[in-house]
């Protein structure tokens, strides 16, 4: 039986219908990439899976736990608070903007939930945290605070933090889009390794390379509906829907455009450097 079962999922914010009936299943060990234009509802859909967003319709089941269910009369019933917390223990989530705890070191970030939620003794949790940080290539950064780490490093700590709960499912929401492009690779590498080790993953991404290489299936969502889903190769190389074709066309067209922008920017470098407000203020505004 599938690890994740979503059917008829709907979500509206006030009068805006964001998800208009979404159905999908995720098998154990499967990696699914969710792609689609901005505002299509990808983040909302992902956040419904661990009930960070409360659906307004449909049914979600994760690992045989029913998180919410629409009744025959259209009203929603939700699992109680304790059951939701229990389910979340097994669903790791990694956010676009990391959301690390800024007043805690990398190790403290990683051990907080295992100690608080699973009553793991501190020495044990700490040993495991060091292992996990080692695994994401940050063995030497355990005592660093988030502010002392690059975006790529912070995101890898965030992945380690989620993994410390031994989740059966991991949710990723555009985890590379808030870091410098040259640091995205180190995050994607960690995710790829995780996929190889058999983790079940739902990955919202704009990285078509990752989708093509790592995902078993790709799910294209547009205007709150799944327009097309299937094996990565089929959807990415042979899309059957016009909207998928248009979207992929636009995304893949971006590559030459980026090169152009870079070329254009190169001509500007001299100008930028002499603008005093630019000097020394280029570390991402953080």
């Amino acid at each position: 039986m599938a690890l994740v079962n979503v059917s008829g999922l709907r979500k509206s914010f006030g009068k805006t219908d964001v998800l208009k009936g979404v159905d999908f299943q995720v098998e154990r060990g499967e990696v699914i990439s969710i792609i689609g234009p901005s505002g299509s509802g990808k983040t909302t859909m992902l956040r419904c899976v661990n009930l960070l967003e409360r659906p307004t319709g449909g049914r979600i089941e994760v690992d045989s736990r029913v998180l919410c269910e629409e009744q025959a009369n259209g009203s929603m019933t939700f699992a109680d608070k304790a059951a939701i917390r229990e389910a979340r223990e097994h669903i790791g989530m990694v956010f676009q903007r990391f959301n690390l705890f800024p007043h805690m070191t990398a190790v403290e970030n990683v051990i907080e939930a295992p100690i608080a939620v699973k009553n793991v003794p501190k020495p044990e949790a700490t040993a495991r945290a060091h292992e996990l940080l080692e695994a994401v290539g940050l063995g030497h950064k355990g005592d660093s605070y988030p502010m002392q780490l690059s975006g790529g490093q912070q995101q890898r700590v965030a992945i380690a933090r989620a993994l410390a709960m031994d989740p059966t499912l991991m949710l990723f929401d555009e985890v590379t889009s808030a870091v410098d492009p040259e640091l995205a690779g180190e995050i994607l590498l960690v995710m790829k390794r995780l996929a190889e080790q058999g983790m079940t993953m739902l990955v919202v991404t704009h990285e078509m390379g990752f989708a093509a290489e790592v995902a078993d299936r790709v799910l294209f969502i547009d205007h709150g509906r799944i327009v097309e889903q299937g094996p990565a190769a089929d959807v990415l190389q042979n899309p059957s829907h016009e909207r998928t074709k248009a979207f992929l066309h636009a995304v893949l067209d971006r590559a030459p455009m980026e090169a152009e922008v870079e070329e254009a920017a190169e001509g500007l470098v001299d100008d930028l450097l002499v603008r005093p407000e630019r000097i020394g203020g280029d570390d991402d505004g953080s």
């Binding site: 960070l52 917390r85 907080e112 939930a113 939620v117 709960m165």
Partner: protein, 222 residues
């Protein structure tokens, strides 16, 4: 101005300083406990709690402290509600009641705004990890909110300290009352009042120093 008269006044007024300090301390402790409860009520998902806390803030931030003080001292003894048949408070007790209520109302706003200023992503990350609200409020949200709360909290505490001078009007023998007694005997207004001002300044300086130390303690380590 005769500086000798200023210095001479200080030990005389000093006897009232301990009363001023203990009024401030009691009101700050009781008021902060009240403020914490009010702030959590205000942020709770239970509507009557939110209404109560909002109403409390509206009422007690809207009435002059002096009137609260008069009410606690002069009006409570006449109050008849149900089984309560008038509450007679000593001047000091009445002042503590009024000042605590005032502090609770103002510091509740400080605590609440500190908590809501913390990035909502912090609560989301905690929830996603399966943490219970009580736990992540204590471990994640409040420690970050405290940093934001320190400056306005200290300002209110300094205001509280200065406002204890109003207790003079319900005959609490704190610094201002002792000074008044002094200058109504010897008519050395300038010197006595200057001495009183110096003492208040010395006491509020303690808060300024505490603020600097706590800000340094709670600053993000970089």
């Amino acid at each position: 101005m005769d500086l000798d008269l200023v210095w001479e006044a200080i030990p005389l007024i000093w006897k009232g300083a301990s009363t001023t300090a203990s009024l401030t301390a009691w009101a700050l402790v009781l008021g902060t406990i009240g403020a914490l409860i009010l702030a959590l009520m205000r942020l709770s998902s239970i509507k009557p709690f939110r209404w109560f806390a909002a109403g409390f803030g509206w009422l007690f931030r809207g009435i002059p402290l002096l009137i609260l003080l008069f009410f606690a001292f002069f009006a409570l003894p006449d109050l008849n509600i149900g089984i309560v048949d008038g509450i007679l408070l000593e001047p000091f007790q009445a002042a503590v009641v009024a000042l605590s209520i005032w502090t609770a109302a103002y510091q509740a706003e400080v605590i609440r705004s500190g908590i809501i200023a913390v990035d909502p992503g912090q609560a989301e990350a905690s929830e996603a990890l399966g943490m219970a609200k009580a736990r992540y409020m204590r471990r994640i949200i409040i420690p970050q909110g405290v940093r934001i709360m320190i400056p306005p909290y200290t300002s209110n505490a300094m205001t509280l300290l200065k406002q204890t001078s109003l207790a003079t009007l319900v005959t609490v023998p704190e610094m201002t009352l002792l000074t008044q007694r002094l200058f109504s005997n010897d008519f050395q207004f300038r010197e006595r009042i200057a001495a009183l001002a110096l003492l208040y300044l010395a006491m509020t300086t303690v808060f300024v120093v505490i603020q600097q130390v706590t800000e340094r303690t709670f600053r993000l380590k970089v």
